[in-house]
Amino acid sequence: MIRIDSVTKRYPDGTVAVDRLSLEIPDRSITVLVGPSGCGKTTTLRMINRMIEPTEGTISLNGADLQQQPVTTLRRSMGYVIQNAGLFQHRTILDNIATVPRMIGWGRRKSRERAAELMERVGLDASLAKRYPYQLSGGQQQRVGVARALAADPPVLLMDEPFSAVDPVVRKGLQDELLRIQDELGKTIVFVTHDIDEAIKLGSTVAVMRTGGRLAQFAPPAELLSNPVDDFVEDFLGADRGIRRLSFFASEGLELTTDPVVRVDATAEQLAAPDAPYLLVTDAEGRPLGWAEPGDLTAGDIVAEGLLPYGRPFVPGADSLRAALDCAVLSPTGWAVAVDAGGRVTGVVSQQAVGEAIRAAHSAADTGDARAVGPADIAKVAP
């Protein structure tokens, strides 16, 4: 555990970057420091590896005061990932990753083997090993940055806005990759960002900081979304926190119905049977094709092109209530399509039913019985 104990950073000109901050950062989970620019989040991060020394207060790791340790030893035991990666442009990808192992005396061969192993872990093709940073895309460079930070297997990983300079699609990929790596490695990660969505997606605990370097709220993301302590945190969370909170409710409990689901080769009898305003047509394997009004379908002559789009289906259990609601809202019929991992329809659910499930989830959460899914679980099904 990293314990930040009433730490203040005051500069000679009187500016206070961090003001009496106390935080207990739990082991083996991701703690996100989030806040507007000037809130002292990067300063706080840099005080952990002593790139900046606190003016007052102490920071300790597993009970040992960091001030008492030699600074280079301390830094080599904490991986550091920075915005724009900060790679050594004059070294190959492999040598960049092998930097810290080489420095702590692992020997050339062992360091390179380790670097190659890490390239695979962060999803970099082995063919990039001999390339130089300028030959890589921004997203690839950032993966190298993560691999380099992990190279000497440090227990702590400090990440300073690592994904903010890449485009949203690449950023999402990097975030999912980080969650996957964290699942495997279980590091103590301190992650700085100004992006509240990123904080909610990645953090097990989120520290919201306000301008002037003070802590506004320190809580798990679901709690942050349901109970912001004050107007500042509420504003910072944004206008749609209610919708975003749904990310933390599982969609498993939704009552699906298969009544309006018909196969493309259905008989006239099967088409007439359901008492529903719309029918969902699937192909022979059960994959969704589209919606239609019962009167518009003729048995034996159903063409996929004539059907209404079914929006983006959700996977009960893997996706959250937010995804289910999104499906229902996007669907022109107001019904969300549920599929299994193979993309075959398992049922449909109406907006009303989703709404009821949301109310039920809220009351369950209020009584402390939330069947919440973590953001990590949701990320796993990302396409």
């Binding site: 590896n49 790139m51 600074v71 280079t72 030893t73 301390l74 830094r75 080599r76 904490m78 550091y80 920075i82 915005q83 724009n84 990666a85 900060g86 790679l87 050594f88 442009q89 004059h90 070294r91 190959t92 930097t99 810290v100 420095m103 130089y132 940073p133 300028y134 030959q135 890589l136 895309s137 940055g145 380099r148 400090l158």
Partner: protein
């Protein structure tokens, strides 16, 4: 007997002997200038306030004509090669200090922060990160210094035939043999071009990590980086 390559006997040297002498008188000062410029530049990088006065002082040195320096030095070092090489070393220093300072300063902030965060001490960081990344800028400075030095050696002809190939200019007048002047100018020019080409080759060997024209796989990114040569001469 009075051919293009026939060197008058007063120079006591062959054509190739003169070339060797010329290279020595031109390149040793650059080497000395480089060795002096590295620590001076590093001081200027560490103590920012030092750079403007150092730059001002070296520029004043550059403005002093070499002939005036010879006149002063001749009392101490006599009519020797050393008298020629001392001002050349100073001129090289003047070119190289800003080149190195700009090169070292061109290392991106996040690269420096990352190296500090990984536990690089200041010395290791200088030798393994800042200096290697400054190599293109340093080589760009060296190209200017070497070319200038090769052409300036000839001035040494004015102090007792210490100008190597430049001595041919004096002899061309003395013996009425204009072909010696042509020889001197052409040979000096060819030497400068060959040395420059050698330095480009050295740079390319030392910096496989530089984006280079169409060889770069991501030309868009490459364009965003300032050319180190520009940075060095700025």
């Amino acid at each position: 007997m009075n051919g293009f390559f026939d060197i008058p006997s007063d120079l006591d040297n062959t054509y190739f002997g003169l070339i060797g002498l010329h290279l020595r008188e031109a390149l040793l000062p650059v080497l000395a200038g480089l060795l002096a410029a590295l620590p001076i530049a590093q001081l200027c990088v560490r103590f920012r306030w030092l750079y403007p006065p150092v730059l001002g002082l070296t520029t004043v040195f550059y403005a002093i004509p070499s002939l005036a320096v010879f006149v002063v030095l001749i009392d101490y070092t006599g009519q020797t090669e050393l008298t020629v090489m001392i001002p050349l070393a100073v001129y090289s220093l003047v070119v190289l200090v800003p080149a190195i300072v700009d090169g070292v300063r061109s290392v991106p902030e996040e690269t420096l922060a990352a190296s500090t965060a990984m536990g690089f001490g200041p010395v290791r960081r200088y030798l393994q990160v800042q200096l290697p990344i400054a190599v293109p800028a340093i080589l760009a400075g060296l190209r200017v210094a070497v070319s200038a030095s090769i052409s300036l050696v000839s001035v040494g002809a004015l102090i007792g035939n210490q100008g190597a190939l430049g001595n041919l200019l004096a002899d061309a007048q003395k013996y009425g043999r204009p072909e010696l002047a042509v020889n001197s100018v052409l040979t000096t020019a060819v030497l400068a071009i060959l040395c420059d080409a050698a330095l480009v080759l050295v740079r390319n060997l030392l910096t496989p990590w530089m984006p280079r024209g169409k060889a770069g796989r991501r030309p868009k990114q490459a364009a965003a980086r300032p050319e180190p040569e520009e940075a060095a001469t700025r």
